[in-house]
């Protein structure tokens, strides 16, 4: 009996080249005759372009050409938005190079093409652009008034309004009844600050236009979608475009985009007939790569005096920024289904207004809508607990779906297939030492200790495995949510797995090898996983939304199953038995009731040589499969944070962080653990460190890593992580997805913990990030308003 690969902490196949410096990031690439690009970007957040004089730049040493918006107006098209959430949705045209006007600081107004990157950058400063400045709208409440318009031509800042009402949808009662009959009503406004994905590898694109196809290497999460969208946007036949995502240095949603810079690099390569490369600087990346979050949440929660929630009403203002990127408009909608989280609310209404402002556009960032929703509801559950004077864990228990109640159709209309919130919470409470920490908290309060202790709780669930294509269609998304895979059996019996889900750090090569090794009974080492090139991986919908294993992995298994079916036919022929008598276990095909067997490798060679195959058998074991999920998957977990707050300085320290996640069946615990750690770091960063700040003119103030505080090692604690395992029932493996879990749960856990430490001093809310100055200011304000009890 061989050891099962699924569940085994295999070390990663991906590591060898990355730890030795033999990496293949896009910017590492040099092609013969390659030219280099640099972008001229608008310093103004909103302005008309009155003239551009590029003559000095054109005569600068090494410069080959300068492209302005006017030069490429006929070819550049408009960058795509694939998610028109309503038929009436308003969206401005989105040229890769601005033609007449700019709508955010950092927008590209011209592109220098030169023989070296340095020569291109030197010439940027020689392009003389005349602007006529226009008033800017930056704040969501201001944008709602429609007094200053981000795009005057649109006549409004409102892109779309999207509503879900459980009364109308028939998934629950009307919210009006719940609010009118409320024994307890909690009303709050939460601010989801603007964040920057801040992947470590700056975006980079190399385009070679010299072959039959235009070959595009790009630091992207979505080579397949990029291929289709570049073709549609630029009017190039799709068959003439090949996209390769080589090593990609992180994405977190930030590389789920069809960027102006990618389109411009294609235009420049076609213009010059030479390979062209563009690599952004970090300040360009922070300024102009899409941002995330940026929402104002006005929420009302009604409950009985016993703490049973009766309704939730959400009014959301969502900042689109200046344009609609690939899925910008849909991000709040992904959150709409998650506000009710793990709870049994009888009534729910969600209304979202998508608004334009003169800032970089927003789009997917790890969790995309779901962290915002989880934050709001988990903050509200704590507020309800405070209002009623009961333990916040108790309030959650009173309202959550119990494990006997699955499958459970929620008030938002989703069917949760499985879960066990009681088990995850019990394990977290035990690991955390909840009662001991509560006792210590009481002692510190009593002693008036300058360093107070708070306990932050967050439970969560999320919809993962994006996505059933029919559901996406019902939500007006342009594409489906399936994934494709191919399993190729080489003549030696070695296996090549081609996946449409393109990895950028997630470890697909290792995990997919484990899946296939188990299914086909071949050694882990004999499996090679290929991805990220539209020439080898012809079909795919790429990597985002914790979909790779639950959708892409299922496609891999389905393809492997087809290989087995084909091989059985050959095995039967080779062993002169009937197909019905062939059994397949651990890589061997045997005839029932005999000791006759043949291995997959032997069958592979027989299929390759094709000398003696059954009549009509196509000499090939390779198999394709496309998997379209029937439902989402719903990972969940309970996160607990012990937060210390120095009331004299506002300094916040994470003393202990415990999380128990239930991500279903785990293929590789090492990889799962790593995903949780990284997710926690990003969620904690939102709670404590990161914010994209603009000045009154719309210039990004946090424009470098000096000011945009991506946490470093001393800023984060050692995490205690554990798992419970309740298999998903909607896929054959029982997996649920893990990429976003840590990010979703950790933000409210931290903020709830900070507030729990200082609530007795009269502090009821602190805007994120909870920096020392904000915490200190909140404490001071509470003193002056007499908040101290």
């Amino acid at each position: 009996m061989t050891i099962a690969e699924v569940g085994r902490a295999r070390l990663r196949k991906e590591d060898a080249h990355l730890i030795t410096g033999r990496s293949r990031y896009t910017d590492n690439m040099t092609l013969p005759g390659m030219l280099h690009l640099a972008m001229v970007r608008s310093p103004f957040a909103h302005a008309k372009i009155t003239s551009i004089d590029a003559s000095a730049a054109k005569s600068s040493p090494g410069v080959v050409a300068v492209l302005t918006g006017a030069d490429v107006a006929a070819q550049q098209g408009s960058l795509p938005n694939a998610w028109p959430i309503t038929p009436e949705q308003k969206a401005p045209a989105h040229p890769a190079i601005a033609v007449d006007a700019v709508a955010f600081a950092g927008e590209v107004v011209a592109c220098i093409i030169a023989r070296s990157a340095a020569a291109a950058r030197d010439a940027v400063e020689l392009v003389d652009v005349s602007y006529e400045e226009l008033p800017v709208v930056l704040d969501l409440e201001e944008a709602l008034k429609d007094e200053v318009l981000a795009h005057p031509d649109l006549g409004t800042n409102k892109s779309a309004t999207w509503i879900f009402d459980s009364g109308e949808a028939g998934t629950g009662k009307a919210i009006s009844e719940a609010l009118e009959g409320a024994e307890v009503l909690i009303e709050r406004t939460f601010y989801q600050q603007r964040l920057i994905p801040a992947f470590m590898e700056p975006r980079s694109t190399v385009v070679d236009p010299t072959g039959e196809q235009i070959t595009v290497w790009s630091a992207t999460q979505i080579p397949h979608i990029l291929r289709l969208m570049l073709a549609l946007t630029l009017g190039i036949p799709e068959s003439k475009v090949r996209v390769i995502a080589p090593d990609v240095g992180g994405g977190f949603g930030g590389k789920l985009q069809v960027t102006p810079e990618e389109a411009i690099t294609v235009l420049a390569a076609r213009h010059t007939g030479k390979p062209c490369k563009y690599t952004e600087t970090r300040s360009e990346s922070l300024m102009a790569a899409h941002h995330g979050r940026a929402q104002v949440q006005k929420v009302k929660l009604s409950a009985t005096k016993e703490g049973i929630v009766t309704g939730l009403d959400v009014h959301l203002l969502a900042d689109m920024g200046a344009y609609l990127g690939l899925v910008t408009s849909g991000v709040p909608i992904l959150g709409a289904f998650m506000y009710n989280s793990i709870y049994k609310f009888p009534a729910y209404r969600f209304e979202c207004t998508n608004l334009f402002t003169n800032k970089a556009w927003t789009d997917a960032y790890r969790g995309a809508g779901r962290p915002e929703a989880t934050f709001a509801i988990e903050r509200l559950m704590d507020e309800l607990a405070v209002e009623l004077g009961i333990d916040p864990l108790e309030v959650r228990k009173k309202n959550w779906i119990t494990h006997e109640e699955f499958p459970f159709t929620t008030v938002a209309g989703l069917e949760y297939d499985s879960g066990n919130y009681e088990a995850a919470t019990a394990k977290a409470v035990e690991l955390f030492g909840y009662d001991e920490l509560r006792a210590e908290q009481a002692l510190r309060r009593e002693a008036n200790d300058p360093v107070q202790l708070g306990i932050g709780i967050s439970t969560f669930t999320e919809m993962c495995g994006l996505a059933p294509s029919r559901v996406l269609g019902a939500l007006s998304y342009a594409a489906g949510g399936w994934e494709h895979a191919q399993v190729r059996v080489l003549p030696t019996g070695n296996i090549e797995v081609v996946t449409g889900s393109s990895a950028h750090g997630q470890g697909h090569e290792t995990a997919w090898s484990q899946l296939v090794a188990d299914r086909l009974g071949v050694p882990f080492e004999n499996v090679e996983v290929l991805h990220g090139d539209t020439q080898t991986s012809q079909r795919g919908l790429d990597t985002y939304g914790s979909r790779s294993l639950t959708v892409g992995g299922m496609a891999v298994l389905a393809a492997a199953d087809k290989v087995i079916e084909k091989a059985k036919v050959v095995a039967a022929h080779m062993m002169e038995a009937s197909e019905e008598d062939i059994e397949f276990t651990e890589g061997k095909f045997s005839v029932k009731g005999t000791d006759q067997s043949t291995a997959l490798g032997e069958i592979a060679f027989a299929a390759f040589s094709a000398h003696n195959l059954p009549d009509g058998f196509e000499p090939n074991l390779d198999s394709d499969a496309t998997f379209d999920p029937q439902n989402f998957s719903f990972p969940h977990g309970t996160h607990l944070a012990a937060m210390e707050v120095d009331t004299e300085t506002g300094q916040v320290t994470i003393r202990k962080y415990v999380c128990v996640d239930d991500v279903g069946v785990v293929v590789n615990p090492l990889i799962v653990e790593g995903q949780v750690h990284g997710g926690l770091a990003q969620g904690i960063a939102q709670a404590l460190y990161e914010e994209a700040v603009h000045d009154d003119a719309g210039t990004l103030v946090t424009g470098s890593f000096v000011d945009y505080l991506v946490p470093s090692a001393p800023d984060l604690p050692h995490f205690t992580t554990a798992r419970t395992e309740t298999p998903s029932t909607t896929n054959q493996l029982g997996a649920k997805g893990v990429g976003e879990a840590g990010t979703i749960a950790s933000t409210p856990a931290i903020v709830n913990g900070v507030l729990d430490a200082v609530r007795h001093l009269g502090v009821t809310d602190i805007k994120m990030p909870c920096t020392p100055s904000r915490v200190w200011a909140a404490l001071e304000e509470a003193k002056t308003t007499g908040g101290v009890q």
Binding site: A9, L11, F199, E201, R282, A713, A722
Partner: protein
């Protein structure tokens, strides 16, 4: 444009003599002139540490030095760390502790960790975290990086560390 200067630098045991512009950064010299693309650029402000190399055995951020300042010095990059086909203990430790995901910060992290251990062979967890403060990682939350540095310091990484090792396993990490 200022006139170019001739420099001689030993990089990963090979001596190079080149004419360079005085403004050329060491990291650009390594990547663009020597093709040593294992050393990466992640920011413009000396914050992220992706470009960390050793200059005469001590870690420096190669985006914060001009190539001319390396004249007459010895530079080691991530590409020069493995010896005779054997991974350096830190490289092996990063692999065994799953201390990398996308891998972009990894060369700088490993070079900084090596410098840290040379200064302080038995650091505490806090000393490791503080010692890596100048290197940003967006994927791992640092926990496994800290564990890797600890493992390298404790000598608990596998001795059989070939450059192409990909079939080792551990059953200890990450189990609930």
């Amino acid at each position: 444009m200022a006139s170019s200067k001739t420099i001689t630098v030993e990089v990963d045991d090979v001596s190079y003599t080149d004419n360079v512009e005085p403004r050329l950064l060491l990291v650009q010299y390594l990547r663009e002139r020597l093709g040593k693309t294992g050393t990466l650029i992640g920011c413009d402000t000396t914050n992220c540490g992706a470009c960390t190399v050793h200059l005469d055995g001590v870690s420096v951020k190669s985006c914060t030095m001009f190539a001319v300042q390396a004249d007459g010095h010895n530079v080691t990059t991530i590409e020069g760390l493995a010896r005779d086909g054997k991974l350096a203990p830190l490289q092996q430790a990063f692999h065994e502790c799953h201390a990398l995901q996308c891998g972009f910060c990894t060369p700088g992290m490993i070079m900084q960790s090596a410098s840290l251990l040379a200064e302080n062979p038995h650091p505490t967890e806090k000393e490791i975290r503080d010692g890596l403060e100048g290197n940003l990682c967006r994927c791992t939350g640092y926990q496994n990086i800290v564990a890797a540095v600890q493992a390298a310091a404790d000598g608990t990484v596998s001795a059989d560390s070939t450059v192409s090792a990909d079939s080792d396993e551990t059953e200890t990490a990450g189990v609930a």
